[in-house]
Amino acid sequence: MKHFSSSTEYQPVIGFEIHIELATKSKMFSPAPNDPDEKTPNRNIDEIVTAQPGTLPVANKEAIRLAAMVGLALDCTIDEWSKFDRKHYFYPDLPKGYQISQYDQPISKDGHLDVIIGGRVKRIGITRAHLEEDAGKNIHPEGLPYSLVDYNRAGCALLEIVTEPDIESGEEARVFLQELRNIVRYLGASDCDMEKGTMRVEPNISVRKPGETGLPKYKVEVKNINSFKFAEAAINYEIARQTELLKEGKTPRQVTMGWNEGLGQTVEQRSKEEANDYRYFPEPDLPVLQFTKEYLDDLRSHLPELPAAKRGRFKSEYGMDDATVENLINWKELNFYFEDVVSEIDEWFNQEKGLDRAQLIKQAANWCLQDFSAMLNAKLINPREAMVTPENFAELTKLISQGKISGSAAKTVFKTMFEHGGEPLAIIDDLGLHQVSDENAIEQAIDKVIAANEKAVADFKAGQEKSFGFLVGQTMKELKGKGNPQIINQLLRKKLPRAV
């Protein structure tokens, strides 16, 4: 791998084209199912998807709604009208010989997204977000003299988001992409899965020479990026590569690169020789889209709490640290689950006295991010698919903080709830995991232990601290492992005052 020297005076100029496959039931212009998980080729097709003669598109209202929601969430302008256009080119995965897209009147434009980079707010401009249909996939079986086409993905609803060239580093790019993905996920507009290809990102990267203003005269597009980590790496690699060329007095060529993870570098893809002329013209089969004020107001009123607002609330209301907040924000399903656990905690808090709400919520957050996350990840499922309900989750949290169960016993109870469901108290009863916090019972046990272990008591009194540990262990044994360790400690110290 080649290494490049880093530079401070050269300024990277980065913009993105991002394709997001919208989570609609059917395709953008046909009733055929939209299912990115379908494995059997050419199952999700119909006469419209395969462009049979005489077929006509019908715009998917849900896709339009989701696109408008994303536009609103990105503070875009949504004009009163929008239209579809035909973009022409020949390729086997494009059944009609044209893609229905939006050329000069996209659904939304002129928006922005604020992200926090190193504690400071950075505003990334959103140039436009428009609707279009996806293409199918060409498959080239190895060693065979033909290619195959799978039209399952053809015609699926895509939202293409184009940003302003406001991004200046790989890190900014990664944070921007994460925040955009969070927003789209919180809107329920897409699962934005880079591996599945429901989110595809293509950065355009160039570097401005010191003292230069305006956009550089070239840009390098990078394709084949299937994670945010790779996006960051590819951008950093390109910045270094281009800076080096500029320092040598050369201008990088305008090319399309691909990210090669194995090599850890970008690799030039076949550069397209001639400029494409897509012969855009307004799609005559689809009427102009009209957006009334009432429609947009209704959408606005249905916007969910977006990540930025949620982040602020978690910090101010729950007093969480940045890392906990980010971890809870970045997994939407866990976040929603956590919020449900919090509502259940509030129920308890209103019913029972002596509970510390903030402490309970923090404890719930930790359980969510540790044991629960680990179990979910091991099973590759989402919180809603687990057997443990938010109600039981909250109750277990409460029982722990009330000292009714030890931390280690709680892990056993949680595992049982995760695998089989059930209420924590019933499980504690079944497994006999009640923690003895009753001071009388503990005192009786201590007395027995003191009477039976004169030597250890004497050693401790003589200053041997490790004998104390032995006595705690014996007391715990006497209580069949269910004693509350804090109370045992406390009472034992009281019973065995050190000779001073």
């Binding site: 006469e47 395969t50 462009a51 049979q52 003669p53 005489g54 077929t55 006509l56 598109p57 019908v58 715009a59 035909r86 022409h88 020949f90 086997p92 059944p95 009609k96 010989g97 044209y98 086409v149 002329d277 012969r279 855009y280 013209f281 005559p284 089969d285 689809l286 009427p287």
Partner: protein, 496 residues
């Protein structure tokens, strides 16, 4: 001699079937036999087995108690642009020679619901590109009045089949005259609907912003019935209108007293055959006699119609024909060495000359840098034409004028008379660009310019009646009134 069923009205056929005077199977057999005997080349595909099967189902339905749908058991023919599931659909082009549609067009679906009986798929100008009926990859259709002459196109086979009594009616389509012209040349009635009145879903597209899905039949009354049953909002065609479909047939009225009929001065041009002009003027006098007021109107933007069409139509054609690429269906070249050659050779071998001409023109005018100069400007002029018609219809109920400047010409001779095509376009295209409904109704006979006349009277002449947007009822009433007062629509080739 067995009873003749050709040339009966749809109402008569309905009565005969309901009264069990004849069965649907017998009717289908009757027309299939006529088709077999005909040498007009009106059909590309005859659906003999399917037709008899459909007729049998219709007979069973008729035998069961209850009312029968109006078209139940009545045979019809469909222009070979209409997809019908399991039926070969070629658009008269070699590129779709082996294409069997996997689904029903909305209109065919509606007719199936009616239990109408599809006899076969009729010939047309390839992809509907033409107005003579001669550009079909399956050979020219002949005019039943004179087999040395063209039937007009592009709905050539539908018009010739109905005129020759091979089917009681037929579906047809128009982009710029393709129903009116052949109806006029073949002496039958043709309806070009308001754009969006009838679903385009499943009808192979030519110019998407212009295509109208209509029919040809023996009378305006028959057309009103067909219009009622084929019109309406279709969720599969976003350009269909949402208005409810009026009872066109039930509402038919021959009382046109007080209606105002506009005579557009620009539609009676020099170069028109004197006989044609005379027959149309006679027809207008007849309408006046029936109580209509006649008023001269001006449509000066009419002259730009052909120019606008020459840009808009090929643009849409070039785009709509992109799907015929040899990848998923249709003709695939055997000569390709790579992907580019699959496209180039499949399309070169499959498309006819006119399709290629339009693809080239459309590709050119939509190219970067030309779009604004051509397509965008053409759409602006189109708006002017739309507005001009709308203003005119504030003062008149319908317009009356000729369909074509001549009667049917000799086969192979259209190119000899470029003015013919030019004037025909002027008479038909402005209304198409404005999406207006129109009729062609037979209004007499005139001797052709070339003097060769098959009979003493000459060849059929069509009167054009143009209505405002969604004004189907107005044009049907005027046409119906005219046909109640005249019997030109009852003349058939060889009938006298």
């Amino acid at each position: 001699m067995a009873e003749e069923h050709a040339y009966k009205s749809l109402t008569e056929l309905r009565k005969d079937l309901d009264a069990k005077k004849i069965s649907s199977v017998e009717l289908a057999e009757y027309f299939l036999a006529r088709i077999k005997k005909s040498d007009l080349n009106a059909f590309i595909t005859v659906c003999e087995e399917e037709a008899l099967a459909q007729a049998k189902i219709a007979d069973n339905y008729i035998a069961s108690p209850g009312e029968n749908p109006f078209l139940c058991g009545i045979p019809y023919a469909a222009k070979d642009l209409f997809c019908a599931a399991g039926t070969r659909t070629t658009a008269a082009s070699k590129i779709l020679d082996n294409y069997v549609a996997p689904y029903d067009s909305t209109v065919i679906g509606k007719l199936k619901d009616q239990k109408a009986v599809l006899l076969g798929k009729t010939n047309l100008d390839q992809f509907a590109h033409g107005s003579s009926g001669e550009t079909s990859a399956y050979g020219a259709t002949k005019n039943p009045w004179d087999k040395t002459r063209m039937p007009g196109g592009s709905s050539s086979g539908s018009a010739a089949a109905v005129a020759a009594g091979l089917a009681p009616w037929a579906t047809a389509t128009e982009t710029g005259g393709s129903i009116r012209v052949p109806a006029s040349f073949c002496g039958i009635s043709g309806w070009k609907p308001t754009y969006g009145r009838v679903s385009r879903y499943g009808v192979i597209a030519m110019g998407s912003s212009l295509d109208s899905i209509g029919a040809v039949a023996y009378s305006v009354e028959d057309l009103a019935h067909i219009a009622e049953l084929t019109s309406g909002r279709d969720e599969k065609d976003s350009t269909t209108g949402r208005d409810e479909v009026p009872g066109y047939a039930k509402n038919l009225s021959a009382d046109i007293k007080g209606m105002t009929i506009g005579i557009p001065k620009e539609y009676f041009v020099d170069g028109m055959e004197a006989g044609v002009r005379q027959r149309v003027m006679d027809a207008i006098k007849e309408l006046e006699k029936l109580g209509a007021k006649v008023k001269e109107v001006h449509l000066p933007n009419t002259k730009y119609g052909s120019l606008v069409y020459a840009i808009v139509c090929p643009s849409e054609v070039s785009s709509n024909l992109a799907r015929y690429d040899g990848i998923r269906y249709g003709h695939v070249t055997k000569q390709a060495g790579n992907l580019l050659e699959v496209y180039e050779k499949s399309r070169a071998e499959g498309f006819g000359d006119e399709a290629k001409r339009r693809v080239l023109t459309g590709t050119y005018v939509l190219s970067a840098g030309y779009y604004d100069a051509y397509y965008k400007k053409a759409q602006k002029v189109r708006r002017l034409i739309v507005n001009e018609f709308a203003d005119t219809f504030k003062n008149v109920d319908v317009l009356a004028c000729p369909v074509a400047p001549s009667v049917a010409q000799k086969l192979g001779r259209a190119a000899d008379d470029p003015l013919f095509g030019y004037i025909t376009d002027q008479l038909n295209i402005p209304g198409s660009l404005a999406g207006l409904p129109a009729l062609s109704v037979p209004c007499g006979f005139a001797r052709p310019r070339d003097g060769e006349t098959p009979s003493m009277d000459g060849l059929p002449v069509g009167l054009q009646i143009i209505g405002p947007q969604w004004g189907e009822q107005e044009i049907f009433n005027v046409g119906y009134a005219y046909q109640q007062a005249t019997d030109w629509h009852k003349k058939h080739p060889g009938s006298d």
